[in-house]
């Protein structure tokens, strides 16, 4: 653990700012956030699924920002717009492929052990919110697929009572959620997920130290 920075006698001991800084220093010192050394067993290829998921999310956001800036007609009517729409589409597909591989990898590594249940649970919430974000994206495409998904999906939303507030037939509502609130939600959750991973470090292999491998 990194020692807290010394407090000068001039500092007010009840300073909220000081307490927050000290708490951050205790919970997430920089050498935990950006370590340059890792346990030797972290060399497995399965650890790559987490970082490529983040990389795909970056491409999803970058292509999505371009699409949002240029507006809905652009991705139907222009060749460049169509290309960015394709980039967004395939980045999302890659994001989900990598995320599911990461999820299965963490499951078979039992990544929740040794006080990491919250990290696992946050990951599952990210998966759920990502599905909702992608769903609103499919509804925002403004093509036949989005038309029929809206007509088809309204029954499940209405049966669950959600449709009274989350109207899949309302393009404006779905588009707003898709380009603003839900991506912010996914991003915040991903940052939180990374912070708790870095704060506690990666989990040890399943067998305890000293146990004879089977």
């Amino acid at each position: 653990m990194q020692a807290a920075k010394p407090v000068s006698v001039k500092d007010k001991p009840d300073s909220w700012t000081l307490r927050v800084r000290q708490a951050i220093d205790r919970q997430l010192p920089m050498d935990h956030l950006l370590p340059h050394r890792q346990p030797y067993y972290v060399g497995s290829w399965v650890y790559v699924f987490g970082v490529v998921t983040i990389a795909a999310l970056v491409w999803v956001v970058v292509s999505g920002v371009v699409l949002a800036f240029m507006g809905p007609q652009w991705w139907h009517d222009s060749g460049v717009g169509r290309f960015f729409n394709s980039l967004h589409f395939w980045s999302v597909q890659l994001f989900f492929i990598f995320m599911v591989l990461h999820l299965w990898g963490q499951y078979f590594m039992a990544g929740w052990r040794h006080g990491r249940a919250a990290t696992w649970a946050i990951g599952v919430v990210i998966f759920g919110v990502s599905i909702l974000t992608a769903f609103t994206g499919y509804l925002s495409q403004q093509n036949f697929d989005s038309q029929f998904i809206a007509v088809n999906a309204k029954d499940a939303m209405n049966a669950a009572g959600v449709g009274a507030f989350f109207n899949v037939l309302n393009f404006g509502q779905m588009y707003g959620l898709h380009i603003m609130l839900l991506p912010i939600g996914v991003t915040i959750l991903v940052v939180w997920h990374i912070v708790v991973v870095r704060a506690r470090g990666v989990v040890k292999p399943i067998d305890p130290e000293g146990a004879a491998p089977r």
């Binding site: 497995s44 078979f108 393009f171």
Partner: protein, 325 residues
């Protein structure tokens, strides 16, 4: 189990630490995934089948269009008898006392006969004396008389023919319906109904609820969807138009719509085809909660210990020990 208060230094005590460049790994991942996404986008493009318009529907299948419009007036379409959040004409789906469709009331009021047929006709009747007279005849008739007209006209539409884009039915007492439906069909075929169903009293609009509900009541949209394998019984929610992947991550949700009790009329424990949407949403909510709580659920949390996949993942961790032993 390690205590929550344990520091990383304490946790890793005795573990050999090796150099590891996280930032370099992230940059390589960004470049690699970017190149892959750019290449796939350039080679495969993306799906973009144009949306169906009401004009295309009215031109391609006028009988289905007129049958749907007549059904709106008769109150026999899906929208007309939907229940909340559009109206109170049915109770909606429920599982015992669990009836969330009723809990939040009519938050998106839709009078399908008025919104989809009468209001557009009133706007189209400006300057059209015959249509205006037909509308007045309809509105001054009793509901019993209206019902007789829609019933007779609906039966006649079953054997209707199309001549020059117009729907022709056998002679009968249909009141003003032939004039009204001919007027609505003409407006729709010209593309006017696509706009009239979007009128909300303001210049801008982004809500397609009325137009999509009206199209959903007909058979044309579903026929197009069936062609693209998008129907519910075709695993539609995870499919896409063309040969593209759709929302494949919805496979489990979609799967339940293909199996009993959600495909059965009799069902099990009160869950059946008629309340499948509600039952499947409840089931998926429970399964998602279970996934989040795997660390606390015996058997589920123990499977990784029993299945030696972790020995492949951490091959290096176990390999030296074998040599020692």
């Amino acid at each position: 189990m390690k205590s929550m208060g344990e520091t990383q230094e304490e946790y890793y005590r005795g573990v050999r630490m090796v150099p590891y460049d996280l930032v370099k790994e992230l940059v390589i991942a960004l470049v690699g995934v970017g190149v892959l996404a750019l290449a796939v986008s350039a080679i495969l493009s993306s799906p973009d089948v144009p949306p169906v318009t009401i004009a295309a529907w009215a031109q391609s299948d006028p009988v289905d269009f007129v049958t749907t419009a007549n059904g709106e007036l008769a109150g026999s379409t899906t929208s007309a008898g939907y229940g909340n959040p559009y109206d109170t004409n049915s109770d909606g789906q429920a599982w015992g006392p669990i009836a969330p469709q009723k809990w939040f009331g009519t938050r998106i009021p839709i009078d399908s006969a008025d919104m989809f047929v009468i209001q557009p006709l009133q706007r189209a009747a400006v300057g059209d004396a015959d249509l205006d007279a037909a509308l007045k005849t309809w509105q001054s008739a009793t509901s019993d008389q209206q019902g007789k007209w829609t019933d007779a006209y609906g039966k006649a539409l079953a054997t209707a023919t199309v001549t020059g884009g117009n729907v022709v039915v056998a002679n009968g007492d249909y009141g003003p319906l032939p004039v009204m439906m001919s007027g609505l069909l003409g407006v729709a075929q010209a593309g006017g109904l696509d706009g009239l169903l979007q009128i909300n009293g303001r210049f801008y609009q982004t809500d397609y609820t009325p137009a999509l509900l009206f199209m959903g009541d007909g058979g044309y949209l579903s026929a197009q969807a069936e062609h693209w394998n998008l129907l519910g019984d075709q695993w539609g929610m995870m499919n896409e138009t063309g040969r593209y992947p759709g929302q494949t991550w919805l496979w489990l949700y979609t799967m339940w719509y293909q199996v009993p009790p959600f495909t059965s009329d009799t069902g099990f424990l009160g869950l059946n085809a008629s309340n499948a949407d509600l039952g499947i949403i409840i089931l998926m909510t429970l399964l998602t909660a279970a996934l989040a709580l795997v660390p606390f659920i015996p058997i589920l949390r123990d499977i990784p210990r029993w299945v030696p996949i972790h020995r492949l993942i951490w091959r290096d961790y176990y390999a030296p020990r074998r040599k020692v032993l």
